[in-house]
Symmetry: C2
Subunit: 353 residues, 2 copies
């Protein structure tokens, strides 16, 4: 059920209950190329399931010539790839929407970059020989609960064509260790370039289907203007830059205090649709080009920096990225009913002393 | 500055900004004896500091015969102990206070049990030979910021007598790996039995002092009735039991749905002042004895369980622990100005079907 509240009403207790369960990445974590485990963002729809890896099996069923039932050892014995991937929650920035949907109330911290190890999904799909007429692949997790009064296991689908991308993994390690329970142990899907909802955790079934999947978690991730608008599906990550807030914070307000002089403003930028072409830093609305580094990997964030000559006073710093297709970040939230894909420009108020 | 808001006003945006940075332990995490890294609670006053372990040094100064300057290798080469310890934030339960202080708005999830490895503090203090007249030891972290308009590095003190406890560690590993940045890398204090504020992270200085330390983080953790009341210092963890919410949740409301039949209600209990003597489970206010297991270790949580014969309907489940001194959990929040030590009984609404 979509339920909107306005910013003037403050935050609700049910939003808070989600905010303390789900974890944001402290933005100073952008200093690490690879986000340490425990700093990476986490969005968990239901409960973290308890799974015994010795009895756990992945079943591949549906419109295939050969169904599969694979143990964790079977999957680990297949060709393995390790790639750094930046993930972002589709709801990142939701709190900037006004009014906003009552859901996980992210500020800007629903991000992280991990080094994921797994076997390419494509190899598994080749092995089971998909039949003609199949259109999508449905991924089902072991996590179960209610959303909008519908009981279900968390499920998302991906088009057959998309599933052929070689970098889509069935991942069993994160940063060189077995997936922690909260990140999908023993196996999760990993879809580089897409918002995180597609990378189904605690994977237990892959079903190849002949009709588009219409489960609730497909409907829950759409760019709708209102509840009558079917909207477009949320898919790839929109271009975004974020800075590490400079200086030191106030505990409660998080407002920053910075020493005068040359201040290194640093951050990361990423985009799921095209390479990042440039990052700019705004100082009280005047934009300056930042120095953009290389991406850590094709689907991971770029490092950027800007040397700010800071004089005592009050300032509003901001940053924005532009991708190679010319897409940039908006100055007003790109409103949609469910509060998805809000890549509004970050603003950080600082006092220079 | 203490600033009170009432429950009727909802949650504030500055509380939310803290809630998304600081991490609660999902209560289903109580199924693990040792909380996986990334599920353990985190309360970070300022920013997570960036520390180069090769140049980092711990300095032991003040009222001693011999000051010390120790590298991480020096500390790792000393006698090592590994112990499981349950930590809880002193502000856990703050959201249940009405009115409440505007600070980190914990529900009940600011808990975790890790296996900590380090060298006993006592050995270091023996080596530097504390002078007569010393009364406290002040621990200073590398994390710096403002609180109540005072700029400071995070600092807490502990009495000389308390520092002689053999189980107080200078810890450099958590669950068998080097401390993650967010848990205090490269070294933190660990004071078993006390609320977490005393276990100073990112430790860089230990100073032995002849006068009681009066820093802001001592004042920030007191049981005051009002701002004129000096109050008593927050110290050891009050007795508490929590249950893993049974059944499956609703995403937004977190309300639980449970299948009729025998339902295993499970949880943990802990207390920093005395052993846990018993745990009871309440079903609509009628109390039943739970089966209490052994503690995992002297300063770690106990496992408990209760087999509930559940019939279809709506129920309010609760649990409460009692310690060997006869202290139990209150039915109304034990109000204090700063929202500390609220060990109010947990209540979980469930639908049995």
């Amino acid at each position: 059920m979509t339920e909107l509240v306005s910013r003037a009403q403050g935050v609700r207790f049910d939003e808070l209950a989600l905010a303390t369960r789900n974890h944001g990445m402290q933005l100073e974590g952008m200093r690490y190329d690879i986000t340490p485990i425990g700093m990476h963002y986490l969005l968990i729809h239901f409960d973290i399931p308890a799974i015994d890896p010795s009895t756990w099996r992945l079943r591949v069923t549906g419109s295939v010539e050969r169904e599969l039932e694979l143990s964790l050892d079977d999957i680990r014995s297949r060709p393995a790839t390790t790639i750094p991937v930046t993930l972002e929650c589709a709801g990142n920035g939701r709190i900037g929407m006004d009014p906003r949907n009552v859901s996980q109330p992210w500020g800007l911290e629903a991000i992280g970059t991990a080094s994921w190890t797994g076997t390419p999904l494509r190899g598994i799909l080749d092995e089971c020989r998909i039949r003609d007429g199949a259109v999508e692949v449905v991924f089902t997790g072991a996590d179960r609960g209610f959303q909008d009064n519908v009981e279900h296991n968390y499920q998302r689908s991906l088009g057959i064509g998309e599933c052929g991308r070689p970098e889509i993994l069935l991942a069993y390690e994160m940063n060189g260790v077995p997936l922690p329970p909260q990140h999908g142990f023993p196996l999760r899907l990993l879809v580089p370039g897409w918002y995180g909802m597609t990378s189904v955790k605690w994977l237990r079934n892959i079903e190849i289907v002949d009709q588009p999947f219409t489960g609730i978690q497909q409907a829950a991730y759409r760019y709708q203007q209102d509840s009558d608008d079917p909207g477009l599906p949320v898919s790839r990550i929109r271009v975004r830059a974020l800075m590490v807030p400079p200086g030191i914070p106030d505990f409660q307000s998080r407002r920053r205090t910075v020493e005068a002089g040359t201040v290194g403003i640093r951050g990361r930028a990423w985009c799921g649709t095209a390479p990042v072409a440039g990052v700019e830093v705004g100082v009280d609305g005047v934009w300056h080009d930042a120095r953009l580094g290389h991406a850590l990997a094709e689907f991971a964030w770029y490092r950027w920096s800007y040397a700010w000559d800071a004089h005592p006073g009050e300032y509003l710093l901001s940053c924005r990225a532009t991708d190679a297709d010319g897409n940039t970040q908006p100055t007003a939230p790109p409103w949609n009913l469910l509060g998805m894909g809000n890549n509004l420009i970050q603003e950080v108020a600082v006092t220079v002393r």
